[in-house]
Amino acid sequence: MLKEIKGRVWKFGDNIDTDAIYPGKCLPIIDPQEMAKHALEGYDKDFPNKIQKGDIILGGSNFGCGSSREQAATSLKYAGISCVIAKSFSRIFFRNAINQGLALVQSKEAYDLIKQGEVITVDYARGEIITENTKIGFPPLPEIVMGILEDGGLIEHLKKSLKK
């Protein structure tokens, strides 16, 4: 089971697209550590320097829309983002994040109840986001998705299942 995730929240608006998360000019990079240096650079040039390990992203609707570039998810993960919470995710970003082992929570309610900079805890076992003032429930992810996430991503998940 995934551990509890605790972190500081960065709040974003709706339709944060893949060009904002990971600009097209950085696509030739294949080292994930280097990708991390460009996380959310299209949104805010200084953002990669602002991220601390364990930070949580809180997005509006349609987070990660646009390109199929998985570097969007990879760069966030290697930059130290522990979890992305959003009202809704774009389809391909959702898959990419899970495949990279980046935890996601879909919650329509969380957005209005959590403030920028707040420190919150995401408890996957209970299906709850715990803030200073309240607890917000969220529905569990499908079994297959949870399996990949718990193994730390699709590559590890595959390695494990191919061993069997």
Binding site: D17, N62, S68, I92, N96
Partner: protein, 532 residues
């Protein structure tokens, strides 16, 4: 002061309406005006009253205070007041737009027992009779497409610990995003791909010479009606133009497909879009789909399969249907399918010898939502920065100075797109303060354009013709934008910073609008040139 006569008072009322205003003009209190009025048996001025139904109707039709107000002859602010009074605060998701004869039947609910194309296709691939929406199925794709990012797929594939790909004949790799290599990093990636395809016996590798991946896939007959494709590019939805189920995935997921030949997919909800009417002069498939995205929003089809019907679609070529399916991604579509018909059949003739089995939806299929459009009065559309659903009729943005015009991409880089642009540019020049780039979609399109004299027209008009590929569309190379520059492109995304500087702007439109814009150096209506 003199008491005004009956006619005088009536005229004042016509002009100033309320007692208070008349009083102000005459310098007397409102009650005195009211007293005179009663004496002369003139009824009190009645404010026009608009019913809830009327205001609601107009709000749902236009979703815009200015336009709705205009209909009633009142100001933007006045309409807003009425709307607020009736608590119509949320902007309608889908507009009725009566003036365009658009109708919206709304959700038709319930489970009728029939299956959509997505349900049937996935059931077939999963070896089942039927699948439910929301069910997760494990399927083997008929096609696994990757472009330059195959370099990343290879890196991930090596980590899995499988030595051979599951089926080299089902993998197609065209190099197009950064072709020829714009940097050493890309050159290394291209080299690793060239070595890998040899090592694995992948025959369907197209080096930088061939063109844009999606265009190459359909031209070379790599995807057929009813088949399932996954690709490491979001616009893989394009193959729906041939009645295929196709969708984008990430590089790691593709590595897993190469290794195992399997992928999990959730059976999506489906939307049924029926488009009727003949395309007006200067209006193209691009305008239709931009308009629809404007209505349904950028997440209107997220996770969903979109099916296209109606006589407009039946009369469209595969190229035009490609544009519909391609841009459906920009409203989040998982699949975007134009069902197989004679147009598809004709296109495939000579491109494949393989047998194929088209898939059709059941008559009683259940859709999450059905929309009907009549486009016979549609105008050219422009998607403004920085979201593809920020769509406006060309009238509202025309006159805006444009630094660069880009004609090409998987969305609009085919022969009909180049031809219409050339028709407008013939004998004219691109405005001296504007530059125009042209990227034919593929080598075969390039050759055909040469044959038809289209390339000559472009060069004579001072366009820059680049090799087939994606280049500037995603800000990779060949024509990036500087701070403050504006580009009108026939491509598919106008996100902030998409084509270069984060302070540049991208407007999306049809090839005809692009050509008209290049000639005048400002956003222009293509109909101005077509009528002449």
């Amino acid at each position: 002061m003199r008491i005004p006569r009956k006619e005088e008072l009536e005229n004042l009322q016509k002009q100033y309406k309320t007692d208070r205003k008349i009083g102000q003009v005459l310098g007397v209190p409102a009650y005195l005006v009211a007293y005179w009025r009663r004496k002369k048996k003139i009824p009190k001025y009645a404010l026009p009253k608009y019913s809830y139904a009327k205001i609601k109707e107009l709000w749902e039709t236009y979703g815009d205070d200015r336009k709705a107000g205009k209909e009633l002859g009142i100001s933007k602010a006045a309409f807003y007041k009425w709307r607020r009074k009736y608590i119509l605060l949320e902007k309608p998701k889908v507009l009725k737009l009566a003036q365009l004869e658009f109708t919206l039947p709304g959700p038709r609910g319930g489970n009728n027992g029939g299956l959509t194309i997505a349900q049937k296709g996935l059931a077939l691939k999963a070896g089942k009779n039927s699948v439910q929406v929301g069910e997760i199925v494990y399927v083997e794709p008929d096609l696994a497409m990757s472009h330059d990012n195959a370099g990343l797929v290879i890196k991930q594939f090596r980590q899995i610990g499988v030595s051979k790909v599951w089926n080299p004949d089902k993998i197609v790799i065209p190099l197009d995003h950064r072709a020829p290599a714009e940097s050493e990093k890309t050159a290394e990636a291209h080299r690793s791909i060239r070595l890998f395809v040899k090592e694995q016996g992948i025959k369907n590798f197209y080096d930088i010479k061939e063109g844009i991946c999606h265009q190459v896939v359909i031209e070379k007959g790599h995807i057929l009606p009813g088949e399932l494709a996954v690709g490491t590019d979001s616009h893989t939805t394009s193959y729906g133009c041939l009645g295929a189920l196709s969708t984008g995935i990430g590089a790691t997921e593709m590595a897993a497909v190469w290794a195992t030949g399997k992928i999990w997919l959730r059976v999506p909800e489906s939307l049924k879009l029926t488009i009727n009417g003949s395309l007006p002069l200067g209006v193209y498939a691009k305008d239709v789909i931009l308009y629809i995205i404007g209505q349904l929003t950028v997440e209107g089809a997220n996770y969903k399969s979109v099916e296209f019907y109606g006589d407009t679609v039946s009369n469209m070529s595969v190229s035009e249907r490609f544009t519909l399916a391609n841009l459906s991604m920009e409203m989040g579509g998982k699949f975007a399918i134009v069902p197989f018909d004679n147009v598809t059949k004709k296109y495939l003739k000579g491109r494949t010898k393989k047998a194929y089995q088209p898939i059709f939806a059941d008559e009683n299929a259940t859709y999450e939502n059905e929309y009907e459009y009549n486009i016979s009065r549609l105008e050219p559309q422009v998607a403004c920065p920085h979201n593809v659903d920020n769509v406006k009729p060309v009238d509202e943005v025309k006159g805006m100075k444009i630094d660069q015009v880009l004609l090409g991409s998987c969305t609009n880089g085919r022969i009909d797109d180049l031809e219409i642009a050339a028709r407008l540019l013939k004998g004219k020049k691109v405005h001296p303060d504007t530059r125009m780039l042209v990227l034919p979609g593929s080598k075969s399109i390039y050759l055909e354009s040469l044959k038809r004299g289209i390339i000559k027209t472009f060069l004579e008009a001072n366009c820059v013709v680049l090799n087939p590929g994606c280049g500037p569309c995603l800000g990779a190379h060949e024509g990036l934008l500087a701070k403050g520059e504006k580009c009108l492109a026939t491509t598919n995304r106008n996100f902030k910073g998409r084509m270069g500087s984060a302070e540049s702007e991208v407007y999306l439109a049809s090839p005809a609008t692009a050509a008209a814009t290049a000639i005048r150096g400002e956003i222009s209506d293509p109909r101005d040139f077509l009528k002449k």
